[in-house]
Amino acid sequence: MKKGINLIIKQKKYLHYENFFKTLRKLLLILVVIFFVISIPSFLLIIQSNKKLDALYLEKKNLLEYLTANKKVEAEFVYLKNKQTQITKIINEDVNFLPYCNLLTDSLKQASPSPTLDAIIITKDRTINFTLRFDDPNSIISFLKFAESEIFLNNFSQLYISQFNLESKKGNQAYQLLLIGKLNPIDETKN
């Protein structure tokens, strides 16, 4: 038996179904449009990215060939840099005693009468130990006055008299002062 559809009773419901399918068709159309709108620029973007990547690969290949051809220059430079770092590190640890010796001898020249430098010992940590010889006691007093001046003391972070000796040879007397201290670092770049 064929079953009929009662459109009078269920009109609202059927209209609802028809609207649903109409909306579905419209949605499909919109989706197709959106798909094309999105996919075309996306494809173009992928093509562009691939072109960029290919160009980079080519540049890398060319550079690699160039570097391989000139690998000696690069190896020389790396060796030079490494060796220089090694030398600089060693030099930085070296005290360089000359400025300190010069400083001491120059300072002593400023004392009047200037004493004779008998011995000088300087270690890596800038500890200094020096012996001065004087011919008469007045020279010692004169030197001690000079040693207390800022010109002389500015070179040391600490300084003290460790020993005082009196030498007598063939009627001549000589006086020795042993001073121990610590030198201030000298900025060699200023010189």
């Binding site: 579905l24 980079l56 030079l80 490494n82």
Partner: protein, 229 residues
């Protein structure tokens, strides 16, 4: 429970079947395309970033060749400088060069080195510590102190000086000689020498003389007779 079948809905669905299938396929394509696009774009961008960095580093490295020429014009040659550096700090200790260096310092500064002994306690694999005894006037000693670092052809540092003028002038020094390969790795992308580095190289070039070995060229410029008669 009996399921109520709406025939009209089925009729409409049947009429729109092609659209429904198309809709489903389109959604599937859309999802597949989106996932693939994201994956491909991420991968490509990542590759571009990675290779761009590599290319950038390579460009910096490749500038070295041009820089070599530039630095040669300033009087610094990589090859010669490396030979000088290797002479100053050989890769392996060479005791003959230590002796030669001490002799050369004596000659150049007039500070006479009369004795030397190895300090085993303070010597290491890469550092040879020596106690050096010498004599000379104050000027000679000060000359030594001025030039000892490079003038002997080996890099020397001094740890202690003991200078005495009582009786006769005698000096005791603790000096160090260095050898060994560098452990650090410098990247060649850092492809320029600083002004301080150039200054150091020029100082060393001035003070260390490199003895280049010239191969004796065979003198074949004169005509040779095959028959002496």
């Amino acid at each position: 429970m009996k399921l109520k079948i709406d025939y009209y809905f089925f009729k409409l669905a049947k009429e729109n079947l092609i659209y429904l299938i198309f809709f489903g396929v389109l959604v599937l394509i859309f999802v597949f395309f989106s996932l693939n696009f994201v994956k491909k774009t991420t991968q490509t961008n990542s590759n571009i970033t990675k290779i761009s960095q590599e290319v950038e580093n390579m460009k910096k490295r490749s500038q070295l060749v041009a820089y070599k020429q530039e630095i040669v014009n300033e009087g610094i040659d990589f090859e010669k400088t490396n030979k000088l550096f290797t002479k100053l700090i050989p890769n392996e200790e060479d005791y003959f060069s230590v002796i030669a260096a001490l002799e050369k310092i004596s000659v150049e500064t007039n500070f006479l080195i009369i004795n030397y002994s190895i300090n085993l306690k303070s010597s290491t694999k890469d550092k040879l510590s020596l106690t050096v005894e010498g004599k000379g006037d104050q000027d000679a000693f000060f000359n030594f102190l001025k030039d000892y670092r490079y003038i002997g052809g080996r890099l020397i540092t001094v740890d202690k000086i003991d200078y005495r003028t009582t009786g006769f002038t005698q000096v005791k020094l603790i000096v160090n000689f260095y050898s060994g390969k560098t452990t650090q790795q410098t990247s060649s992308t850092n492809s320029k020498l600083t002004e301080d580095e150039k200054k150091l190289i020029k100082t060393i070039q001035k003070k260390v003389k490199l003895e280049l070995k010239f191969e004796e060229a065979s003198s074949s410029s004169y005509p040779v007779k095959s028959n002496p008669f």
